[in-house]
Amino acid sequence: MAQAIPLRISQLIKPQACLEDIFLDILVRVFAFIPIGALSFVLFMIIQKGAGTITWQFLTQSPLDGMTHGGIFPCIFGTLAITLLMILMALPLGVAAAIYLVEFAGQGLFFRVTRAAVNNLAGVPSIVFGLFGVGFFILFIGRNLDKVIQTGLLFGQPCMLWAAATLAVLVLPVIIVSTEEALNTVPQSQRSASLALGATKWQTIWNVVLPQARGGILTGAILSISRGAGETAPILFTGCAYFLPRLPVVKLWGVVPMINPFDQFMELSYHIFIMATQSLDAVKTLPIQYGTTLVLIALTFLLNLTAVLFRIHFRKQMGTAGVQ
């Protein structure tokens, strides 16, 4: 019945606005401006003070003279290496979990318990992930692996492998939720059509559902890379180094360079933290701090912007596909 009325009643009746209404109207507009203002302020501040530091040397050199001069190349390398390892661990697990939840689990108790677990995991404080990384990955799994396969002290110490694993656990909810959302946008009728043509359930998922959900899954992956690159607390005790003169790289068979997951590493966000709070001369190194912050925020901001634009594009595409 409601659809028969062409205009909403609230649009037909326009009572005279009183002073109080005008005041509230202005107030919420000011409130709505605050997130934009805060974002612009942070970006402006860091670009203004950090841009002067960014030179080719700054991006390609190691820190020098007790970290008061030189560049941040090891930090950039460490950040890229650890997020790569993290996404290699988290993406297959998260996507598989989301496929199970959407395609197999139904709407029963299992689904609701998992849903609650994912939401709760997203709300666990990041420092608790750090404690978990130490207690579970390093001391439990690592030390016991060392005992079982007699490797001395290889697994049972803070290193990039466990830092990446800790971050992978942290970004898992991001990947699961965005993959689920992507899978749910694929129309049910297409699954039915595929099954009716004689495809098995897995063939349907692999050939029909997943290709269409690719965009959404990619968005989730980008978002989680950006999240992982920006987190500091989980890696404080699981592998970050204050200063490391060499890159965490190992030569396979003496030739092929590869990221060494058993090495410690320097990292951008950790570098900002220690330079700002524990540096020998926090005032003198201020340009380095701003420069490092600019590099980190440029990295995460560009990743987030890509994800946001990608999602808008992807939603529009799905929207028009629905109309046809």
Binding site: R8, A17, V113, L131, G198, T232, A276, Q289, I297
Partner: protein, 313 residues
């Protein structure tokens, strides 16, 4: 459509794939349980040497006053180590509570604008901005608070400590704001259009409708968002570690330096011997923190589910 009609039987690889996917599906339940087990496994060992009373305070001899006094302090490196949680609770609360208040006021106002007033175009522009704000790494917010805002606030309020709970709270409120706005806006948009129409038909202005119809209907969803925001504020680490001054004091003053539970773990775990009383005490703090946030999350989850069910009917 009934898919059981077309289902194949006896295909081993299909069966294997489903079982593998199931393993991935239970991973998040498994991980949250493992976090529970491993935090509490380490935390409980504190009581091999300490007593529950130690977590509140300790009677120690004070040479200055010449008598034994009851001290509520977190002082891990000392002749008599003291592991009272009270100063940490004070710190966490003094940061999380103002942060929640600030972000709730701003967030609900912003959500009203987005849900009730803004045109679709403005909303499409604002929502990605919120996502970008949420994407600022907390260490960057912490750094900006530490390097720029702290001095500004000290001059403004003329405070004794440059780094204090209030500076931390403002930083944390920025981090919590996006999630608060998102949940509050969702709650308001879930309010049926018919209710607004009815209110307007009775002659109410737009703001009368918002105050008396939309907000009361959406109140459960909004409060779930505030609870969730409080949980996030309690768990925020890097901002408070960098901007609150890290002095474990028992105080009720927001302009005093404080040390939160999260900052306490982050500051001390790096330099502690594994298996010592201090090490277990830090895990105990982590377990307490985890319990707090877990309960808050679960509570807001239940409220949100209830609200969705009610509005669907």
């Amino acid at each position: 459509m009934d898919h059981s009609l077309t289902q194949k039987t006896g295909n081993f690889s299909e069966w294997l794939i489903e079982k593998l996917l199931f393993l991935a599906g239970v991973s998040s339940i498994l991980i949250i349980s493992l976090i529970f087990v491993f935090l509490f496994k380490e935390a409980i060992q504190f009581f091999r040497t300490g007593t529950p009373m130690d977590l509140i305070g300790k009677w120690v001899y004070d040479p200055w006053e010449g008598k034994t006094v009851f001290k509520m302090m977190w002082q891990s490196v000392s002749e008599v180590p003291k592991y009272s949680l009270i100063p940490l609770f004070c710190g966490s609360f003094l940061v999380a509570f103002p942060a929640t208040v600030i972000s709730a006021v701003l967030g609900i106002g912003c959500a009203i604008y987005l849900a009730e007033i803004a045109s679709p175009k403005v909303r499409e522009g604002l929502k990605p901005t919120l996502e970008l704000l949420a994407g600022i790494p907390s260490v960057v917010t912490g750094f900006v608070m530490l390097a720029v805002i702290a001095t500004f606030f000290q001059n403004l309020f003329n405070t004794k400590f440059r780094l204090n709970a209030f500076v931390g709270a403002v930083g944390v409120s920025l981090a919590v704001l996006p999630i608060m706005i998102t949940i509050a806006e969702d709650a308001m948009r879930a309010v049926p259009k018919e209710l607004r129409d009815a209110s307007c038909a009775l002659g109410a202005t737009k703001w009368q409708t918002i105050w008396r119809t939309v907000l009361p209907t959406a109140v459960s969803g909004i409060s779930a968002g505030v609870i969730l925001g409080f949980g996030r504020a309690l768990g925020e680490t890097m901002i408070v570690l960098m901007a609150t001054g890290n002095a474990a004091l028992v105080t009720g003053n927001v302009f005093s330096s404080v040390r939160t539970m999260t900052a306490n773990i982050a500051a001390e775990l790096g330099s502690v011997a594994q298996g010592s009383e201090h090490y277990y005490a830090l895990f105990l703090v982590g377990a307490v923190l985890f319990t707090f946030t877990f309960v808050l999350n679960l509570f807001s989850e239940i409220v949100l589910t209830r609200m969705r069910q009610k509005l669907r009917m």
